[in-house]
Subunit: 313 residues, 2 copies
DNA sequence: CCTTTCACG
DNA sequence: CGTGCAAGG
């Protein structure tokens, strides 16, 4: 658009927050995905907004007590031929994980790693479920200050570290923006670089940032909203993209508009008033192996939709 | 039964808690009710366990989202030809009453008096809805110490005071038993006597006591349960029956077993493991005018069922 | 078990 | 709006 061009032509002293790298293009649709490969490795990622609530909805939907279909997360993984499932906002307490595992009916041979919030019960929390046993797993980023909320779980596979993360929300009134940007984002990036020194990294999860104006339905109105502040976007740009990580969805579809989160309020999902907060980022060494990064915007059950990554073998 | 006879023959030093006045008889059924009168005045009373939740259930049931039928409280009043509806445990805040009124669609000409808890939001609370405008209404019993929880609302009608009450539960571990028996019960009885000096009284509501062994499914196992302690039963006996009030249901059916409350836990209602906690009591002067005191045990929507009183004109 | 408030999103 | 928790019953 001419507006964007006009702005870009005039360099300003005022720091410009990360701008779209391409003019706004069409709405992304699953039909734009590349054809499947013969052999691949697939990872699925989903902010479930409460795993017990999701499983309850799955049950109710199956019994016809709900209009819409809600897939069992493992059925979804099977359907997507994913061997790894990353969950965020599981909102479990440690003592609920074994019950949740039962209800999940994790197939024989699968492995699960849970990281529950220790500070606040039923808050945050992440998990990695995988068919293959990881070479190693770890919870947190190795810093007391940041590891009380169950936000990171890492699994080591032969070719890469898989980091599943639920980044702290900057909160109502941006109460936690300073913590988020100046402490969390920095320490987390340092953690990722530490891993990358050993092996390439696949990072997924709810990174709680819509990186550019393409990634949110109402950019102008959300400059002071958690997840779209200039500070959070600049931090994403500097700490992650600047460190060489590739935003797989954006790399594949430079101008496409697509969201992964729609607030429960105001019928946001029906009106597609969404945000792209959930991501797959990979080390640049891994970027050539990314065949397909995609969303499943029609999958219900949470205020976020699942997303998938297909890696060439 | 011979056991009861044997016990009664041997007077003991140990104080016996209120005993059934009659041997346990058959289960009470609505079919035992006397035939209707040509002219009467009818009062309905219901602990709704949250008025907003009840109205939501009514809606859901109407939309077929629930198995069982749940009547709108005013439809129930109409069906029972009651001109007065007493509600307990409405769990409303003052600021929600006008919304609730709208949802209730109170017919033109009806009057409503609400008494919401001021101490704790969404706790306790009582209301009287009536076709006839009361000569006067009042909230509480005129004692600061007891009037913060919205437990009593009184409406004056030409022939009697109608007192609608939700008596304080003695609580888990009988934490509040002392307050209940030694303060509340006494002050409340004094309040009733004060009214009675002016006009006969009809008292209804959740009095939170099963007066005798006939009034609870498992008397032996509940001697230390709130609502069936010897203290609460003795207090009911002394302060209310001893003051001349007549337990209308028991007077009409001396040996019948019937409950008005079934805890939500353990399928208590399906198994009829209940308590008779909700009552109509009348001043002895009014007793001859009581034609019919009855329960509506099949009416769902709360853990208590509604009950009715039919007075001869 | 079920409903309320509350904190968080 | 919806989740999970806590208190109350």
């Amino acid at each position: 658009g001419s507006k964007t061009a006009g702005k870009a032509a005039k360099p300003k002293a005022k720091r410009a927050p990360a701008k779209p790298k391409a003019p706004a293009g069409p709405a992304w649709e699953p039909s734009m995905r590349p054809p499947p490969l013969g052999e691949d490795a697939r990872i699925l990622s989903w902010n479930v907004a409460g795993l017990r609530a999701l499983l309850k909805k799955v049950k109710e939907a199956a019994e016809g007590k709900r209009e819409e279909h809600i897939p069992h997360p493992l059925a979804l993984a099977e359907q997507e031929r994913a061997d790894v499932l990353c969950l965020q906002e599981i909102k479990l307490q440690d003592e609920h994980c074994s019950d949740a595992l039962k209800e999940l009916r994790l197939p024989d041979g699968w492995h699960a790693t849970w990281n529950c919030s220790q500070n606040k019960k039923g808050y945050s929390g992440t998990a990695i479920l995988s068919r293959e046993e990881p070479l190693s797993v770890s919870c947190g980023i190795g810093m007391e200050d940041h590891d009380g909320e169950g936000r990171v779980v890492t699994a080591e596979f032969p070719d890469f570290f898989l980091v599943n993360c639920y980044v702290p929300n900057s909160g109502e009134g941006l109460k936690r923006l300073d913590y988020r940007v100046n402490q969390w984002d920095k320490e987390f990036a340092a953690y990722l670089k530490g891993l990358e020194a050993r092996k390439p990294v696949v990072l997924t999860g709810d990174l709680n940032v819509a990186p550019t104006e393409l990634d949110i339905h109402n950019p102008k109105g959300n400059l002071k909203s958690a997840g779209f502040t200039p500070e959070e976007r600049a931090s994403f740009q500097a700490n992650l993209l600047g460190a060489g990580f590739v935003d797989c969805f954006r790399a594949q579809y430079p101008g496409a508009v697509a969201y992964t989160y729609w607030g429960y309020r105001f019928n946001a999902r029906a009106n597609n008033k969404g945000w792209r907060l959930d991501h797959f980022l990979v080390s640049s060494a891994l970027a050539p192996r990314v065949h397909d990064c995609y969303h499943l915007p029609h999958v219900m059950g949470s205020d976020h939709c699942p997303l998938g990554l297909v890696l060439k073998l």
